[in-house]
Symmetry: C2
Subunit: 295 residues, 2 copies
């Protein structure tokens, strides 16, 4: 990038962040108090209007239909892995990825006010949250676990149930929202528990200087085809941060490949790499080029 291009990119990057200071309607999956809602407030500021949706499909559809300005969906957790439904939905919807946010996930054990830890006989939460607290739960004697659809939703259930012996696993904020009490904090087995979220929009942004780009493509089913596709990045020293494959429906054992890399589509080497990839690819789409989240 020339010095002028760099300045332009920096200004545009700053203006993209400024845009976020007006109040926007931002859709997320889950109940109030969900980790996705926390990611919205951390990323955009606490004055935004976070709009709860029942499913990931609904998050995409309310952005497409303009009921919301933006959506924020989890794409990957550093312990549990990728959230595949959202990879599929990125491909199926005409939206742009305009941002990413890494949230440090810290789980609490939450019960009705006045309940003591020794009274708990059942713990409910989303299967991933239960799995992430497996060692902690194993050490609670005589406690059964039960999967429910949502972390914050499990706290709502504890409030609405008349059973003092049931606790939920969710965020600190979920306990506050539903007026419940925290029995234990940081109960996750591995403290390096991060979820990466993507921000989706109808319009692209200028990704600025420190950018990441997400693409999806398919290839001829030939020996060496993925290696060739990856060479367009390696030969230009473009750093790949993630590769994911999803089945190509109707063609068993063929795949869509999703790649994230460091760089903006406005950089010449990235433009050239993508033009080069299009020489091999049967299909290629840029899902978005956006400011990289630096903690």
């Amino acid at each position: 990038m020339s010095a002028d291009e760099t300045n332009l990119a920096m200004e545009s990057g700053a203006s993209a962040r400024r845009t976020a200071s007006r109040i926007q309607r931002i859709a997320y999956q889950g109940e109030p108090g969900a980790y996705s809602e926390a990611a919205i407030f951390e990323h955009f500021g606490a004055d935004q209007q976070a709009v709860p949706c029942r499913t990931f499909d609904e998050v995409f559809s309310v952005v497409v239909s303009k009921k919301c300005d933006l959506g924020l969906v989890p794409i990957e957790n550093s312990l549990a892995g990728s959230i595949h439904r959202n990879y599929d939905l990125l491909l199926q919807n005409p939206l742009e990825v305009i941002g990413e946010h890494n949230l440090h996930v810290r789980h609490c054990l939450i019960a009705r006010p006045g309940v003591k830890l020794g009274e708990i006989k059942k713990v409910i939460s989303h299967p991933q949250a239960l799995a992430q607290c497996e060692v902690y739960l194993r050490d609670l004697p005589g406690v059964a676990v039960e999967q429910v659809y949502d972390t914050a939703g499990s706290v709502k259930m504890v409030r609405d149930l008349d059973e003092r012996d049931t606790a939920a696993i969710a965020s600190r904020r979920a306990a506050q929202i539903y007026g419940m009490e925290i029995l234990a904090e940081h109960i996750e087995d591995n403290p390096a528990n991060f979820t990466r979220f993507l921000v989706i929009s109808r319009q692209p942004v200028d990704p600025g200087k420190d950018a990441k780009t997400s693409i999806v493509f398919s290839l001829r089913n030939q020996p060496g085809s993925l290696f060739k596709a990856m060479s367009v990045f390696a030969l230009r020293d473009i750093d790949l941060t993630k590769i994911e494959s999803r089945p190509l429906a109707g063609k068993p054992w063929e795949y869509f490949f999703y790649i994230d890399f460091i760089g903006s589509i406005h950089e010449q080497k990235v433009e050239r790499a993508l033009a080069h990839l299009e020489e091999y690819a049967l299909f290629m789409r840029v899902l978005g080029s956006y400011p990289r989240h630096v903690a």
Copy 2:
């Protein structure tokens, strides 16, 4: 491979298949009538003793503890994608992959005897089976869907419930086992619906002439590292059939990579490729080299 090596491999391949003709205890996840059970009978013959387990973890553990001779677990569906828990369990357990089986999954709508399609108000099944019949279900007027833990288990529930208006989605065999009736067959939206299963054992087999090999490795978190790792196969014309990544717990955004390729660990070019990969990899393990399933 020399002519002698080829003969040896063919003989060993044949003897590996013969071994399967004695009755073995083979563990699978699910209830009798599950697609995993069908895969066992298709792969090994109907005289085998299929042992139902509650979870995938249990399938691995009964093979490790010698309660069963072998296990069979789904690793990937051609519509829904990878079954990640089983990738993690392959890494965590000291077992060998000794075979693969591709099962054509055909769903039936199943109800209590005498019930007519028009009476059905609710359809229950495993979330993946429901998703694979989404278009069919949408065309059934006024029918609600509900997720349960298992396909064959949903048929058992239809039998045990006293509700005539509930149907299950599962295999033809599940209907027979629980004495229920098939209301509709081939109700999947996409007929190219295959699940690939892996056979796990305490002992490796000779993979024979037409083999596949599964490996897992981790790499230094450096630009171009995955490209270099893949080059050891590409430079030797070794055909990769699958790449999967799973999070490396405790190191956010670093991964274990799982690769399947055509070829046996007894072929010289494969031996050389793996030795070459070990020059780069922080960790590498061969999960198994096994006869390829040819439909």
